[in-house]
Amino acid sequence: MNTLIEFLEVHGGEMIYLTWQHLYITLSALFLGTIVAVPLGILLNKVPRKFGQFIIGIVSIMQTFPSLAILAFVIPFLGIGQGPAIFALFIYSLLPILRNTYVGIRGVDPALNESGKGMGMSAWERVRHVELPLATPVIMSGIRLASVYLVGWATLASYIGGGGLGDFIFNGLNLYQPEFIFAGAIPVTLMALLFELTLSKMEKGMTPNGLKAAA
């Protein structure tokens, strides 16, 4: 107990700062991932099916690269620091969101699309008033999934000088100081849980009422 208080007295400020940094990296990557992957997922439903599948395939392959490899890969192009770290994580967030958006929109009953089209909705109006609302639950769960991954992966940002709670964890590992490992890992875990909870709340909140009653 004493060690904990001592540790917090010495490193508490830094811990708060790193936690904030971690959150910032995660949220930035998630935000970028969402604003890129959701429109892309919608668009992929408008192009020939083969092409859509092809893009999804490529993104899936990118997902299998080890995280460190991607981080290492961005250094020659973007250098080191927070920006490159966010960029690398953003690449990672794409797949879950893209795939869920694509699948979610593909899953909208074609009859509804046809009915909308037949009533004179333009392509955009159908996206806005039919496809997006109906795919929202699936898209949101993709974002939630991505967020939980990102909180974990964001620890690796520390490797390329991106900061975050990874600094504590890797310092602890390098210097054999378990208290640092805990000081990093515990907030990361809590943060992941927090994202999971918040986003699943949002997911429920954003699910259209007419769909809820059906479930």
């Binding site: 009953d109 009859a111 009915s115 037949g118 009533m119 004179g120 109006e125 009422n209 007419g210 769909l211």
Partner: protein, 390 residues
Amino acid sequence: MLKFENVSKIYSGNHYAVQNLSFEVEKGEFIVFIGPSGCGKTTTMKMINRLIDPTEGVISIDDKDSNLQDTVQLRRDIGYVIQQIGLFPHMTIQENVTLVPRLLKWSKEKRKERAKELLKLVDMGEEYLTRYPNELSGGQQQRIGVLRALAADPPLILMDEPFGALDPITRDTLQGEFKDLQQRLGKTIVFVTHDMDEALKLADRMLILKDGKLVQIGTPDEILTEPANEFVEEFIGKERLIQMRANVETVEHMMNKHPVTIHESASLSVAIQVMREKRVDSLLVTDSEGYLKGYVDIEMIESNRNNNKTIADIHLTKIHTVHKKARLRDSISRILKLGASYVPVVDDDMRLLGILTRATLVDVVYDSIWGHEDPGKEDQIAATVEESVL
């Protein structure tokens, strides 16, 4: 209102889904496309609002080539009900019903008013406005689907098997309601079905398709009385042809073509003789051109007997007649109501063509029970009758 000129739809090379289709639909008309599965009904319908583009030919609406119009605009002016209803599950009934008005940028108040107005048309209360489609029964959803197509008051409405998924009783109710509604609002309706009963019930005219080609177009009566070929006959079904015979058959087909008549110049004594010979108690009086003048019966002759008069001299009683094109069913009920033993059948100029007797009624009932042409059975029955007499 709607005109097809040599319209074809060709899929992948040389498969004609619809081939060289030409027809016209009048304003306010209820036209039903009917035919077996895959004959091109849906394709034909969807070419109207250009969900499918025709490969060849011209479709015009109010004399405007639809191909030259903006599709989104075109569709907003045409109501559309798809087979699967297609209500948006995430929108309330009000939002669903007033979707097209919303696209057309009506104000919120106006949309709400319209939604209430529409629900009234099908006797649904305002409390439904805030419900979601999954909180409605199938029949109610179907009604909402139809209302949605009516929302912006389009003159033309397309419906692809809109009552397909309903139980027979609900379907029957909705068909009735809908036909009323259509007549009240004066809409032009293009309706797809493969259900012959539905088509006969709703259609002003039916368009029968087979393998993408038009086989026959006409009113239900025309199609029932004069099926274009064996395919149509088979498609209508023997049962139905027989059942409908009484409903649509004209008097002309079933009348007795040899009524007992007498010329107006004949004398009363000749009239009596004819009556005796033919064992009848009244005669139809005609002139030299065959025009019906009236009738004489035994009592009338009796009271004029003493003088040597001709029939033309006595005051002839006017008699109820039926036109040759009149429905048999209506005419029969007329005979029954009048209590007359027969009714003369005449043409446009009151020329006598035949008579309809109570015996005709028996024929019709017989037909509808045992079929029209089945001499085998007839013999059998005759035989049984004889036996029982013995």
